[in-house]
Symmetry: C3
């Protein structure tokens, strides 16, 4: 098994369930009673793309378990002097980092560089395909709400094709018995759909789903595309009228940051059905679980 | 009482005196004997305006008491992706920050956002009105020197109208029995003066004051104004000639960073009467006191 | 003796050997058994020039020994408000930093500012002359390989004149009985050569040397110079053909970051003879030694 935490697609179902169980254990501790299992470990946060939320979430997870964190600041880095990504990671390995939490635009980073590194890499949203810690926190959020995963039905809406969040979820949902309805214009759908995923209109599936997962509109990836935000909201967004048609038990999710009024109506962000800020809370517990697993697997 | 630390104006005199007493307690410990009262706490420094001095002072205070610190780097933040300030603060709350130390240009941040947040906010210089941790360190510096506050007479000179440092001091001085003489051109004076504050010429009050508090000329806020630095120094600054007319026991204060040769003569910055660098030292002790109070109030 | 760690030139041979011995001691501990000798110390990393590698190496050394680290981010600093370097360092001293690890372009920083500061300064590559922690790690690397320093013969190639790495090595090598051959075009040689250093062609000395120390081509310092990288590599770089003529026991060193294919052939960077990434590992141990020495000297 790879020593890296690269993709949910690489993990067995029992491993995923064990990671989630451990996250629930951390969730039930008060912060002062969390086990300091990562004491004397030093974790490097290596972010080549800006992402305060994910960086800080990993930093919090590491510190709560007793680890030290070194933040690698891209703008101040030797990368400016023309150093290769490989040399940068090898440097962070050489100085004794116990794990490298990595964010980078390049898809092939784990395939090409992973085998050359002894230090475990943790995918904190690298490339276009997977954002596995986000996938895990989405599963955790569903479990925390419904006490189960199998048999749930979730709708994903928005720019699914460009979303690594959706990528992680679609791939793992099939193996966990979660039914996924993809609700988006054709140009935002993946070219190939996994078996348990089908294209649906949101209005059709709304009364049946247990959760609506909104995605962030990635404006920065649609340069040149003439987006009409109001039209997008009306045609493809989660409006208040649509939310009113959800089951009383159903929840609203979003990986954040949110574009209020575009993929989701402003007043839904903190509506009773919303778990958006709870997802951020949950993210710290699953990242504790990931870091412990990657660093202490041999002794667990 | 608000759970936030927003303004000295909101604190009772006994609370202010208790905060100062506790700062004196910390001051008298050696660093290795400081009580680790903030162990297992994680404090987020959230700076939307640059301020190395204040950020580092809070960071030092937190670490000396055993807390962990997460620095929120604006330039790398999701704010770039269009996220609102509220969403950013709610995110930092959701990931489990125990307190948010906040620097921001907006005056209404505490009024409008404070009530929506469960996590205590600490004003590290937000808006134009108050900079309460600086106000507290100024009081601490006076106490350390004179063993009392009541009956002291201080002169404030420079750009009083645009100074949140002066704002905090003027408001609190009245309640503590400190007499304040404001020595500045009319365009630099506040529109309304608190009861204990009067406009004076520096030359008139110099022989009587216990402390001269110079303010930093905020060039960045006077865009377009044609400032003649030499004339300003001659007319309104603390020159060596003026300093020579102070009482032997009187001290010189400045919140720093200093514009040497403008609001204060270069050779006075480290003159025997200057407490400018001592003020920075004192700042760490009052910030320890503030952080402990905000985080441990219920158990104190 | 100066309380600062400024230059290897200032240290006696017994002091240098003691620092190296202590680094070897740290090297032989597992990370969880390293003595926490710097607990309750707070070290400020003050980097006015970008250098991820050195900053992170010092940060790792400090944290492994139990110290806290405050990173001073230049881009967010009050230096922008026109504050002098002296005032910045005095501020970091005033808030209670136990040591200031300093990187700055100015050569005279230690001479002019050192005597005015009570807090020990550690040269992390300041000015053009010395980079003493790099010099110490180069010595450590030679010791780790050859169990001795005296009698070794090393070749330095590349832009020796502009290299503070070469500066530190040339000055100390003479006192330690290391023979140095400088292999570079005249415009890259120092104006004056220390006694044990002589100009040589690399091809002539290759079969005799114990180590080849390649330097990084400092493109940023050669603005306007018309550099032909391929010609430089052919005439002055360590090519694979040249490396094949080295003794079997000889090693390849480079302070990094590496310009692959310019001063050194790409395939040599991780060749069996290369100690380039091991040097980065070694850097943490010598920096532990430096920090302990500077902070605990009185009690050692």
């Amino acid at each position: 098994m790879s020593k890296h935490f690269t993709a949910l697609a690489d993990l067995s179902v029992p491993t995923i369930m064990a990671l989630l169980d451990r996250a629930h254990f951390f969730f039930h501790q008060t912060t002062s009673h969390l086990p300091r299992v990562l004491e004397h470990k030093v974790i490097a946060n290596v972010f080549f793309e800006p992402s305060t939320r994910t960086r800080i979430s990993f930093e919090m997870a590491a510190k709560r378990l007793g680890a030290e964190v070194i933040n690698f600041d891209l703008s101040n880095s030797s990368v400016k002097k023309g150093e290769s990504l490989y040399d940068t990671l090898r440097t962070l390995e050489a100085i004794g980092s116990d794990a490298l939490v990595l964010r980078h635009a390049d898809d092939r980073i784990f395939e090409t560089l992973g085998p050359k590194l002894k230090t475990p890499l943790v995918n904190a949203g690298a490339g276009k395909h997977e954002h596995p810690s986000q996938g895990l926190l989405d599963l955790f959020t569903l479990q925390r709400e419904f006490k189960r995963l199998e048999g749930l039905h979730i709708a994903i809406l928005g720019d699914i094709r460009h979303s690594r969040v959706a990528g992680s979820m679609m791939l793992v949902a099939q193996r966990l018995g979660i039914k996924v309805s993809l609700c988006a214009a054709d140009e935002f759908l993946p070219v190939q759909l996994p078996g348990n995923c089908s294209k649906q209109t949101l209005d059709h599936v709304l009364p049946d789903v247990d959760a609506v997962m909104c995605l962030r509109n990635q404006f920065e990836r649609h340069e040149g595309l003439d987006m009409d935000n109001a039209a997008f909201h009306r045609d493809w967004g989660l409006t208040s009228a649509r939310a009113a048609r959800m089951k009383p038990s159903a929840i609203i999710m979003h990986p954040a940051p949110v574009n209020r009024g575009i993929e989701i109506s402003d007043e839904l962000v903190e509506a009773p059905a919303s778990r958006i800020f709870q997802q951020m809370e949950n993210g710290v517990f699953v990242r504790m679980s990931i870091l412990e697993w990657i660093l202490k697997r041999d002794s667990l």
